[in-house]
Amino acid sequence: MRYTVTLAETGETYPCGETENLLEGMLRLGKKGIPVGCRGGGCGVCKIEVVSGNITTKVMSRDHVSEEDQAAGRVLACRAFPASDITLRVIGLMKKNVCRTKTQALAA
């Protein structure tokens, strides 16, 4: 099953399969400079907030995702899988790169 993931800040979308984590899909957007971290739920750089939609998750380090975070949909993209269409906000270290539009990148 493939779902559509929407980035709340920029309106961009990408397809993401249910067995593919949200970070893998985001990487296919081809944005330069996304600081991909450990991809194992340990380092916290790919933290996102799910604004709408359902996800499933694998275990993540409590240093970066508290129980309250998890309940509120604040998770690590590398350990989260879509179970419906998703809208998400990027809140981790990668935010500045993901939310940079092409226009901003050209102007910089």
Partner: protein, 310 residues
């Protein structure tokens, strides 16, 4: 043989989020030998050419990172003498009885200025490298050297605060030498210190971080730079997340590849470098040549390498 005092990094205790995934990584993929699982479910590994019972301990919990690291020292008298010197330096020393840690003699433990927990021990059961000690030959049976073909645990890089104070502790108290350091070009502030207790370019290193007690990587020695490339082939085949593909460090001159375990803890396999003697002046690198200092084949600094720790 003149090498006495602190001998080597003998044990690193790594926290993992999922033991089944970790076992596949450290055992099946990297080829370390699982030697024991204890009553608490902690899993113990050795590399083939190590003589001591184990060098890596995995503990499943809800946070990635490192619990502690431990150096093996030459004998009990060394342990006693270092305890006095550690206390004189101003760090509290905790005693751990023999047997508390499996296969291990008594240990002493302290918390470093960087926030890391360090242990010292003089005895650990030795189970050998499979070749024996009389007419051992050169080559173990098929299947002993396997996976990434790791010879042994080599060093760790840890992130934390007060790294100048750590360097002072290791050089003045534990008789290490500073082989190399990386400083900020403008301010002269110390960013990374490389500390040797042997003829290796480093046995332990500390990188300045805003937070105490962080883990950057644990590193394993391979036989050759060719083996680093063959490990990279396996890393690609099994989709193991790579931080930095095959390259060579300016600092230490090791041929390297960095990758992550399934819990996000960084590992390195490396080969080559130089032989360090304690009368060699400290090599200093500054951030005007940061790319060359860190990855000397393309001179590119990776943000992830500086910012991703567990």
């Amino acid at each position: 043989m003149a090498l006495r005092g602190v001998l080597r990094l003998g044990e690193v205790a790594i926290r993992v989020l999922d033991m089944a995934e970790a076992r596949q990584h450290y055992g099946d993929r990297m080829g370390l030998h699982e030697v024991m699982e204890d009553a608490k479910g902690q899993v113990y590994y050795k590399a083939w050419d190590e003589h001591d019972h184990h060098s890596i301990v995995l503990r499943q919990t809800d946070r990635a990172g490192m619990d502690y690291f431990a150096f093996k020292v030459f004998d009990d008298a060394t342990l006693d003498s270092l305890e006095k010197r550690i206390k004189a330096f101003g760090l509290a020393v905790e005693h751990i009885d023999a047997g508390v840690y499996p296969k291990s003699g008594r240990r002493i433990q302290c918390v470093l200025p960087s926030g890391h927990t360090m242990q010292l021990y003089a005895h650990k059961e030795q189970i050998g490298n499979s070749l024996g000690y009389r007419n051992p030959g050169t080559t173990p049976d098929e299947g002993v050297i396997r996976g990434f073909r790791i010879n042994r645990l080599d060093h760790a890089l840890l992130g934390g605060i007060n790294i100048d104070e750590n360097a002072k502790f290791f050089t003045e108290v534990l008789d290490f030498n500073m082989s190399e350091k990386l400083i900020d070009h403008d301010s002269g502030a110390t960013l990374v210190v490389f500390l040797s207790c042997s003829i290796k370019p480093h046995d332990i290193a500390f990188v300045l971080q805003p937070e105490a007690n962080k883990f950057h990587h644990v590193s394993f020695l391979l036989e050759s730079a060719h083996d680093v490339i063959k490990a990279a082939d396996m890393i690609g085949k099994y989709r193991i997340p790579v931080d930095v593909g095959p390259n060579r460090h300016g600092i230490t001159r090791g041929a390297t590849i960095y990758y992550y375990d399934p819990s996000g803890n960084r590992n390195e396999v490396f080969a080559e470098g130089y032989i360090y003697y304690p009368d060699t002046p400290t090599i200093v690198w500054d951030t005007s040549e940061l790319g060359n200092a860190v990855f000397a084949q393309d001179n590119v600094v990776r943000a992830s390498f500086l910012e991703v720790l567990t």
